[in-house]
Amino acid sequence: MRNFTSLLFAGGLGFFLLVLAADLPVGAAPMVAGEGILGQGPEAVGAANLVTAVVLAYRGIDTLGELSILFAAAAGVGLILSGMRRRADQRPDPEGGFILLAAADLLFPLLVIVGLYIVLHGHLTPGGGFQGGVILAAAFFLPLLGRPGDSLNHAVVNWVEGLAGGAFVLIGLWALAVKGDFLAPMLGKGALGSLFSAGTLPLLYIAVGLKVGAEIAGLMSTLQETEAAEP
């Protein structure tokens, strides 16, 4: 009975949403702010990837808010799991086999290079601090998957995270002091499409990448160090 009412609810909601979707301007959605950004974005910001221009320049303060949400989530995970740390006498997961251990050693440098490349080229090609940061976190977590007894150095992770977050805010305040707008692009735009272009955007994306990477690596390491429940 409960399942039937739930299905009825979900079906009704689906019908409602489809009716709403039928009213949407399919095919030629009107762009209000997007048109302006597409028109003047390349000259005003200097980034070839306009999504990066929106993320870091036009909506930079949103990104700062997003980083604080991520920080709150990571801190919450640490707080909730703080009392469930695996004790020294408890057995960790068994060590990975030869394939996992060899692949972890082999892939670690490659993943770090790929992550840094994606972070550094965020203003030119698809990618950026969020994607690259996640790949960096995966690179640092992969050895832990093979050797569950080890753990990341949480002090270093916290320092990287704090310094990166501070750098993001400091660059924003610097722009506020010089140009009068928080996170306004600075340092000259350079040639469109070259690595050293778009002013402070690559610096901001490096800060975002380090912060996201440190947060997610710390989060996964905390989960890894949690004791297993008795079945």
Partner: protein, 98 residues
């Protein structure tokens, strides 16, 4: 392009149903990774390469790892210490794999 889109959307919806209906939680986590992977292909089709990269890295990779780790810590997924050979064991006694 049209039929590729239809195929990918169908895969996405079917694996979303599999997330809810599969009795094994580990299989459900794998199905949710398939949803994310198909979704990242859809994002490429609708000209959003940045979002596609994020979805592929976060949804298909990272979120699967976090979910599987949590399953392991919840005791819902055993590594089968007795039934399967551990990495240090020799493979001689395991019987029927010849």
């Amino acid at each position: 392009m049209y039929w590729i889109t239809v195929l990918v959307v169908a895969i996405m919806i079917l694996s979303a149903l599999a997330v809810l209906l599969l009795p094994n939680l580990l299989a459900a986590v794998a199905a949710s990774s398939v949803v994310s992977l198909a979704l990242s292909v859809v994002f490429v089709i609708i000209r959003a390469p940045d979002v596609a990269m994020t979805e592929a890295a976060v949804g298909a990779g990272l979120s699967g790892v976090i979910l599987v780790l949590a399953l392991r810590r919840l005791g819902l997924w055993g590594l089968g210490d007795d039934n399967h050979p551990r990495p240090g064991d020799s493979l001689q006694g395991s019987g029927d794999d010849a």
